[in-house]
C-alpha cells in the first residue's frame, strides 16, 4: 500500500478529531502497519502535546481597569465630534476652504511642504548608513550588479532587493534572502571569462570603487524607516557596464560568446562608457523616505566622505541606538512635481515576512546630462540581463525517482534567448509509466518536447503526486522509501534548485508560487525578445 503526503496531513487532522471516524480508523490501522506512519504520528502527537500543555500567561489584574480608562479617554476625545452638527460643520468647512483658496491659493501645497519639513527633521535625527557596518565585500557588490540584492543583515539573512521597471517604478523589497540562489556570482563570472589572478584583482578594484556609493545609499536614523537613494538603479547600471567593459577587454572571445545573440544599435562599449560617465555626473542628493506607512521624496545632501570617515572611526564600537555621528546631512524639500505626496503613485506592502515599497523613479535630469536617451538605458538593462542569462543558461531542473523505479525527470531550460518562449521537458521513463493523462507529445523513446503547460500541477500529477506541494512535503521524510533520495535537488527539507530563481528555495513553496514564478519567467523572456526585436528593427531601418 502506498503512503502519501496526504496520509501525513491526515494524521495531523486525526489528532485534532477533524477526520470522519471511518477514515480515522482506516488511517490508524494503516499507521499500525508502517513504521514511518507510526513514527510520524508519534512526532505529531509530541508536538501537539507540547503546545497544548503550555502554561498560560499570568493574569493581569489591572487589565480591565486600564481598558476602562482607555475607553473613557477615547469617549472624552470624541465627545465634541458627536456634539457637532455634521451639516453645520460641513458648511463651515466648505466656506473656510473657499476663502482660503481665494486668498492664498498656495496654502495647501505650502502646508504639505511645512509638514513634510517638520517630519523630515524628526526622521533625519542621527542618520547613519545601514550598510557600511556590515562592510561590503566584492562579492556583495557583484551580487548587487547582477542579482539586485544588497545584504542588510547577514546574521538573519536579510537583504534588500532593488528593481527598476520599465513602467517608471522603482521597487524596494526587504526580505529574507539567505537561501536564494544567486543567478550569477563573481566566482562564476570569473570562470566564464577565464580571468587569471591579475585580472580578478583588477575586477575587484572596480567593484571596490562602488562600495562607498552603495554604503551611503541607504540611511537609517532613530525612527523606523529608511532614506534610499533614488539613483540606485543608475548606480547599478554603471556598475554593470563597468564590469562588462572590463570583461570585454579581459577576454574578447568570451565576451563575443556571451553576447552572441544580442545586437546593439551602436557600439556596446561606447554605450557602456556613456552609462558610466552619466552616472558619475548625476546628482546624488535625491532620496526618498520609506516607512511602514508613508513614502515621500526629499532632497538630502549627504557629505559622503565625512559620513564614511565617521563610520570607519566608529567601526568595531558597540552599536547603540541614537549614537550621533555628526551633522553630515542638510535636507531641503523643494516643490517637486513628481512628488508622491501629490501623485500618490506609491504602493506599500508589508507583513511579518517581507516589506515592499513601489515608488515612482526619480524624474529624469535635464537632457544635457544624457548622452544616451533614457529608453536606451532600460534597453541596456535588458540586454545585459540577457547576456547574463546566456552565461548562466537559466535552467530549472527537477528530478524525481518514484518508489517503483519509474524515473521522472523534468528539465526547463532557456538555453537560447532567440527562442525564449519554448520550455522543454525531458522525461526518462522506464517500466510502465507513460505520458497518458498529461497530454504530452512524445518524440522518440525518452524525450518529449512540449510547449509550457497551462498548469504546472499537471506535470506532477503524471508522476503520482497530487500537486507540487506534495513534493515539498515529501522531501523531509527520508524514510519514505526511495522518494527523492537519489535527487541532488532536494537537500534536507528544502527545495533546492541551484539554477532557479525561485523565492521559495530553502523553504516551503506552493504550486501557486511556482506557477507565478514560471509566469514571471515567461513574461521576462517575452519582454526581452520584444526588446531585441525592436533593436533589430532599428538597425534594419538605419
Amino acid at each position: 500500500m502506498r503512503k502519501t503526503v496526504t496520509d501525513f496531513e491526515n494524521l495531523s487532522a486525526a489528532l485534532d478529531d477533524e477526520l470522519p471516524s471511518s477514515e480515522k480508523r482506516a488511517l490508524l490501522e494503516k499507521a499500525a502497519q508502517y513504521d514511518s506512519l507510526r513514527e510520524e504520528l508519534a512526532g505529531l502527537r509530541m508536538v501537539k502535546d507540547a503546545v497544548t500543555s503550555l502554561e498560560p500567561l499570568p493574569e493581569n489584574p489591572l487589565f480591565e481597569t486600564r481598558l476602562r480608562e482607555r475607553l473613557e479617554a477615547d469617549a472624552a476625545k470624541s465627545a465634541w465630534n458627536v456634539a457637532a452638527k455634521p451639516a453645520v460643520a460641513f458648511a463651515t468647512l466648505a466656506v473656510a476652504l473657499m476663502i482660503t483658496m481665494r486668498v492664498n491659493p498656495d496654502f495647501f501645497p505650502n502646508l504639505f511642504e511645512e509638514q513634510r519639513a517638520r517630519i523630515a527633521s524628526i526622521y533625519e535625527k542621527n542618520l547613519q548608513p545601514i550598510l557600511a557596518y556590515n562592510g561590503f565585500t566584492n562579492d556583495d557588490v557583484f551580487n548587487f550588479a547582477f542579482n539586485n540584492v544588497i545584504p542588510l543583515d547577514r546574521e538573519k539573512n536579510r537583504g534588500l532587493a532593488l528593481e527598476a521597471d520599465q513602467a517608471g517604478f522603482f521597487t524596494l523589497e526587504a526580505r529574507d534572502v539567505g537561501a536564494e540562489p544567486a543567478r550569477m556570482d563573481r566566482r562564476r563570472f570569473a570562470a566564464a571569462f577565464e580571468l587569471d589572478d591579475r585580472e580578478l584583482s583588477a575586477l575587484d578594484s572596480i567593484l571596490g570603487s562602488y562600495s562607498d556609493d552603495l554604503a551611503s545609499a541607504i540611511l537609517v536614523g532613530d525612527e523606523p524607516g529608511a532614506y534610499v537613494n533614488a539613483n540606485l538603479p543608475a548606480t547599478r547600471a554603471a556598475l554593470q557596464a563597468d564590469i562588462l567593459c572590463f570583461a570585454r577587454d579581459a577576454n574578447p572571445d568570451a565576451y563575443r560568446r556571451v553576447f552572441r545573440d544580442v545586437e546593439f544599435a551602436e557600439d556596446p562599449e561606447a554605450r557602456f562608457q556613456s552609462i558610466i560617465d552619466r552616472e558619475r555626473k548625476r546628482e546624488r542628493d535625491n532620496y526618498f523616505y520609506v516607512s511602514d506607512d508613508s513614502v515621500y521624496r526629499v532632497s538630502l545632501s549627504v557629505d559622503v566622505d565625512s559620513l564614511l570617515r565617521d563610520v570607519r572611526a566608529n567601526a568595531g564600537k558597540p552599536r547603540k541606538n541614537g549614537d550621533p555621528f555628526g551633522p553630515q546631512f542638510v535636507s531641503a524639500a523643494p516643490p517637486d512635481p513628481y512628488d508622491s505626496i501629490f501623485h500618490r503613485r506609491w504602493r506599500l506592502f508589508a507583513d511579518s515576512n517581507r516589506f515592499v515599497a513601489r515608488v515612482p523613479r526619480a524624474p529624469a535630469p535635464p537632457a544635457a546630462f544624457f548622452p544616451v536617451p533614457a529608453w536606451n538605458h532600460d534597453r541596456m538593462f535588458l540586454a545585459l540581463d540577457s547576456a547574463m542569462d546566456q552565461l548562466n543558461n537559466v535552467r530549472v531542473n527537477v528530478q524525481v525517482l518514484s518508489d517503483n523505479a519509474r524515473a521522472f525527470h523534468v528539465e526547463v531550460s532557456f538555453p537560447d534567448s532567440a527562442t525564449p518562449a519554448r520550455i522543454e521537458y525531458r522525461y526518462e521513463i522506464s517500466g510502465d509509466f507513460g505520458p497518458d493523462g498529461a497530454g504530452f507529445v512524445h518524440y522518440g523513446d525518452d524525450t518529449f518536447r512540449v510547449p509550457a503547460p497551462p498548469n504546472v500541477d499537471s506535470i506532477f500529477a503524471a508522476s503520482g503526486f497530487p500537486d507540487v506541494d506534495s513534493i515539498f512535503f515529501a522531501a523531509p521524510f527520508p524514510d519514505m522509501d526511495s522518494i527523492f533520495e537519489a535527487s541532488p535537488f532536494f537537500s534536507d527539507s528544502a527545495f533546492f534548485a541551484p539554477d532557479a530563481r525561485f523565492p521559495f528555495a530553502g523553504g516551503f513553496g506552493s504550486s501557486e508560487e511556482l506557477r507565478e514564478e514560471m509566469e514571471d519567467v515567461r513574461r521576462e523572456m517575452e519582454r526581452m525578445r520584444e526588446e531585441i526585436e525592436v533593436i533589430k528593427k532599428e538597425i534594419r531601418e538605419r
Partner: protein
Amino acid sequence: MGPQTVFKLADDFSLIKDFIEGDERAFETLVNRHKEKVRNLIYLNVGDTDAADDIAQDVFVTVYKKLKHFRFESQFTTWLYRITVNKCRDYLRKKKIRSIFSPFTIEEETRPSPERTDESFDIRQIVREAVANLPEKLKTPLTLRDFEGMSYQEIAKSLDLELGTVKSRIFRAREQLKEELEPYKEELI
C-alpha cells in the same frame, strides 16, 4: 425530588444584545470571559508579554467600538479572534519594518539551541519560542487550534481560508515544530 434549578451563564449573543441595548456591564462580562484567551493567543503569536497586554487592549477597544454592528452570523469568538489576528499582524508588520530599518537596535533572538545548558533551561519556554518563530501563516492556525481549541471550520472562517488550507498549514506548522524541537525530544516525551 423537587425541580432542579439550573444556573446558566448568559451566552455571548445575549451579552452582546444587552450591550447594544445600553448595558455596559455586559461588555465587561464579555471582556472578563475572553480576555485571557485573547492575551494568550497574542502572546503565542508575538512572543512578548508587554505587547500582549497592549495589543489585547487594542482588540477590546475595537470590539467596544464595533460591537453594535455585530451581525450574529458567526460566533462571537470567531469575530473576536479575527480582530485579534489582524491586530497581531499589524504589530508584527511594524516590528518587521523596525527590525529591517533599525540596525542599531540590538535584538537578541533566543531560538532554541541544543547547546543551551544554563540553569534557566525551560522546555516550555523553548516550545513557546519555537511557536513564536513559526511563519505567521502557519503559527496563527496552529495557535487557534491548539491553544484556543477552535475547529478547522471556525479557523477557516476566522482567517478567511479554505478548510483544506487550514488543515495543511496546521500540519506544516507541526512538521516545522517537530524539526525545531527534535533536540529536546527526550524532555518533551
